[in-house]
Symmetry: C2
Subunit: 320 residues, 2 copies
Amino acid sequence: MIENLWRGVAIIYTKTGEETAKKIENWIESEKEVPAISFTYSSTDLSYIWSCYDAIIFVMAIEGVVRSVCKLASSKDKDPPVIAVDDAGNFVTPILGGHWGANEIAKEISSILGGKPIITTASEIFGKDSVESIARRLIAKIVNPEAIVKINSAILRGEEICTDGFSIQGMREGKDCKYIITTSNFQDPNKVVLKLRLLPLHVGIGSKREVDVNLIYSGLMEALSKMNIEPSRISSISSVREEVGKIAEMLKVKFILYNLEEIRIFSNPCLTPQSEKLKEVGVKGVAEVCALMSSGLNPRLVLRKVKLSKSATIAIATGE
Amino acid sequence: MIENLWRGVAIIYTKTGEETAKKIENWIESEKEVPAISFTYSSTDLSYIWSCYDAIIFVMAIEGVVRSVCKLASSKDKDPPVIAVDDAGNFVTPILGGHWGANEIAKEISSILGGKPIITTASEIFGKDSVESIARRLIAKIVNPEAIVKINSAILRGEEICTDGFSIQGMREGKDCKYIITTSNFQDPNKVVLKLRLLPLHVGIGSKREVDVNLIYSGLMEALSKMNIEPSRISSISSVREEVGKIAEMLKVKFILYNLEEIRIFSNPCLTPQSEKLKEVGVKGVAEVCALMSSGLNPRLVLRKVKLSKSATIAIATGE
């Protein structure tokens, strides 16, 4: 589960939970290879984190977590999975989003902490996808939102759902079910068809002065493969280094070159906060900014920046 | 702890948790001898329960509990202790009010369910009273609320607090501390003094036609003793049975006789819902109604009705 949280995991902790928080952060980064960013509770604007990350882990007493999430929770379909871990790492408790990932995340986290996952939801509806989570995973837009409720209810009732144009675990490819999720132009007035439009992807690349084109290319292919995304969905590659243009050539996509001033003035609430090290040397991360700037209207990160090596990072965004 | 929850424990459950809910209800009623009332989640107006009971136990998945309490939670000092128990009774998790009772309640409940209490708050501030909870337990009004924050902070910092005019576990009786909680007229401009005014108590008594005066009298004395309340604080006794007047005579307090029509038309959001049995025979409980009607402005229950025997019930209320 955690390896699919490409927009990253936010870990929020108070001083007494720092050790446990760092343990979780290091494990997610090194073993799961997805971004994990930790924030101190007092210095954090939770509303950004709420909409910018794929999961939120609080290392705090449950009451504090509940009072924090109460300010932001809106509905089961929209809220991110939220997990509470006590300072000592004894109990890992899904607070919100149990069926949309929090239970699985809690199990994985508790196993590395030597703690216990506190699973309190009924087991029979475990791990069932919602239409929204499928769309998020495919990085797709739901074309006819009026079908969402019908399909989600069918999923919860355990009815068979077919996929058309893509494959996903637990659903059968085909067009002979009553309920169909399609990425093609398939239509059938006698069936309930939910249409997804796969969104174009924009890759931003940060690199030190010496650009290792082969390393970046293979790192990008590996990241896409983990995300189960065809390279053909890439719409642009961008960077502040001209040499990165070679990767765009290899992929036969548009290359966009930005300058450092453009990077400096761009802002987006979901950008990964600068590390202390980057702050010291006065450099702003470029991969996320490049990816977002290339994504048009309402840009949003779909892969938070990951390091390919000490010398390169990639991030992926989409937009309208 | 649970034996001090005189306004009763509300247990809220969904169908799949009914067995666990009933187990908790029966145990609280029979072993702890305080009122426990269970409600089905779907038929319940949570906002009444929030302010009418001394603790709320949800037998439901934590996510459902969190989404429910988010609508009602206001602040640590005002919210009741809230505990979540999963359907199977495996995990008993304090959700709100960990320091004001929820942790202790969770420990007691888990022991009878054979489950595990999920305590996630720092242990060093366990079981410390707040000024509000002391006032609630003494059934007193805080005369100078502006001193609340100062005294509560001192309690949390571990400073010594003296009590004057009453005694309470964990605090020393006397007037030589910097921080003093008093029920007398004590004043000292060099100290932080929080004044409590003990409120008059109004006892309502329900009885079958044959009034067993001695049984009711001794039951009332026992209840007051459990609540650590002097009989001299009783201001009135009321009932629909004239014979109950003898108890008022014995206590040398006012007796108020109500008729059934007065009982019928009285309403208060915190009244214990009629049992199926009472509904069947068309009788409305009278103890709580009598106690509340006698209590003047803003009446509120301080002891939810308890059965003294099959033939009599008492309830206690206060007001302004």
